[in-house]
Symmetry: C2
Subunit: 390 residues, 2 copies
């Protein structure tokens, strides 16, 4: 096991009827809140009213900043920062999924400095302070509600960049599974795929193999994501399914899985971010295209790791013994088939991205590969992987 | 899944050469430290010197409070509180295992109030403040380094009582697996048993069965404890074994396993605490006596739970199908045999406690049962369980 620091101070309030706690949680930290959210769905579901009522009762004044898109955009973040400065905001309330929470984090960090927020993303400045953030989660997926990371797309440079900083941990996150009853099937599936992908990135790219604590945790989280997702698709109001998916997605990227693994990479996300940045593909849909292709490419180097995962989470019935190679292939097939089963795309073709676009996608991904120091990924390597995703 | 609050702000510094970080971590919080530790082993291993050097370099002055015993005693805690008041201590540094850290917690809470510290334990007062605590862990076992709990024995009333409060979370805990290289085989085993017991308590007493996230986490932690313990017994300087045991024991009682289970009980600990309080039995040794007997008794009510655990962590080879009853019995046998294998006692007889003592032990345990609101445990029930531990 490698040395690590684990420090996750975010408080989680989980369960039924917890949304109304947002007021007191916010009021303990600030009085003038910027309420960051997406679109009308929050209003339709009644969550918006619950949040506003709770904030108002707790004496918190609210300035709204709505319209966050999935794959959140830099310009919209900049507008939020202007608003936060103009209204002397002292706390950010995020109500949404990963995109909303990531936008809230960027606003929280960007509104306390004089320079442009993108300088944090391209590495020219580092975060020294941030406004406190509290969240009401509405989508089980990104894990941003209990971690220090954020991802924003610069629409001008077509870069979807992300990084983490300890000051970006939300102080409190409210996770009410009932809030996700209205998440449509496609985004329920994309969320589960995102959680699976987060775990896979750590599992596959760890250089340390003497990490049974982490491996067992990760294997369980993948199984949970898949099982819980299927329950939610079968019955969107299955509380247990929603609750298990929600908590699994949070644990999948809250620092626990990676603690002790040493330096890991996020190569599947690295390539997917280009699909999102260039074609505005939903993140989970992009991931289900990249994962099987990347795993196939990865098997050229670490077939045994892929086989080990399959052996532990997709056990072969009875006495049948497969070769490592066959087990690895079977594992990839199971993931691909499962993505198809939950109606997420598994090829660039399904996204209507022609093979002729591959060099351009690889070029875009290469910038992020360099920023994330994934130096083993060249233009040629990324193209090779993308050809396995056709 | 039941509603829950999860909030664990303790920062963990894990790995090789981390002990020397105690100085800066302490200096960030206080200037006058009470250094709480046990006996000579800390000095023999050189850890004591490392800690003192680091604290001194960081400009922290130190008052010593050594001599904490396993099953830490109230009088010794009271003496620590007097010292803390006398020297105007502003931070507690604990260097040891669960007993030392629990003593440190009791001193941290007791030294900021005028009343006697035992009033927290018998429920007459509640904690409203505490000095900050930082720890250097020297034994993988109790989990106190990353949780809010503490257990202290009142030697006069012969009560070993414990409870938790959020202000008792250590601010920082340093976990260097190499520090545990010198832990002798018996205490290595007792520590692993304590971790297994912590997980078993949650797993068995949860009233909610729709908790696959938690169940898989717990199953993995039991497997890890057992595997890692065997590695450490085989080679006390196996870094991977020590590291995996240490992190497993921490995760086994840091709040994660119980999040979502609803109200759980600690019945095996409840009964074991009486063995420790009355006979000063090492906690892990007492647990290995109680666990098989309690599980056997528990099978009268929830055989399926015991069988499920065994199915998942001790899979039966091939196609063999066991009845629920046989699988539950097999699970208990595997635990009992494993305790014996690692040379921990599995009967009251091995502890030289005669059956005639059972009523007295049960009477002692009953006080804690009432304090912990384990109302389903009568004198008769506890006696019945203890007879299964003969």
């Amino acid at each position: 096991m490698q040395n690590f620091v684990f420090h996750n101070p975010t408080k989680i309030l989980f369960g039924r009827d917890t949304v109304a706690k947002i007021g007191p949680e916010t009021a303990a930290l600030g009085q003038k809140a910027l309420l960051v959210y997406g679109r009308d769905s929050l209003k339709k579901s009644g969550i918006y009213k619950q949040i506003c009522d709770s904030l108002s009762t707790a004496g918190v004044s609210v300035v709204e900043h709505s319209g966050v898109q999935s794959n959140p955009m830099l310009e919209h973040v900049r507008a939020g920062i202007s608003k936060a400065r103009e209204h002397d905001i002292d706390i950010i309330v995020a109500a949404g999924g990963g995109s909303v929470i990531d936008s809230a984090k960027a606003i929280a960090a960007g509104s306390v400095v004089a320079h442009d927020v993108w300088k944090f993303f391209n590495g020219k400045k580092s975060i020294k302070a941030a406004l406190p953030i509290v969240t009401v989660l509405t989508l089980a997926a990104a894990g941003s509600e209990m971690n220090s990371g954020m991802v924003i797309t610069n629409e001008k440079t077509r870069q979807k960049f992300g990084f983490g900083h300890r000051l970006l941990h939300p102080v409190t996150s409210i996770l009410d599974p009932e809030v996700t009853f209205t998440v449509p099937p496609d985004y329920t599936a994309y969320g589960a795929i995102d959680a699976v992908a987060h775990v896979l990135e750590f599992y596959m790219t760890s250089r340390d193999t003497d990490t049974p604590v982490q491996c067992r945790l990760m294997e369980g989280l993948i199984q949970n994501s898949m099982e819980a997702c299927e329950r939610c698709l079968l019955d969107p109001q299955d509380y247990g399914g929603r609750a298990n998916l929600m908590w699994t997605a949070t644990l999948a990227l809250n620092g626990l899985t990676g603690a002790g693994l040493g330096r890991v990479g996020f190569p599947m996300h690295m390539i997917e971010h280009s699909l999102s940045a260039l074609y505005n593909v939903p993140h989970g849909a992009g991931l289900s295209v990249i994962i099987p292709g990347w795993l196939t490419w990865f098997c050229q180097q670490e077939e045994a790791r892929v086989a080990q995962l399959g052996e532990n989470i997709f056990p072969v019935e009875g006495y049948q013994r497969l070769t490592t190679s066959a087990m690895a292939e079977r594992t990839i097939t199971i993931f691909r088939n499962w993505f198809s089963k939950i109606e997420s795309p598994v090829s660039l073709g399904e996204l209507e991205i022609p093979p002729s676009d591959i060099p351009g996608i690889a070029q875009n991904a290469l910038t992020l590969a360099r920023f994330w120091r994934l130096n083993e990924y060249s233009q040629q390597t990324i193209e090779e992987i993308l050809h396995l995703c056709k």
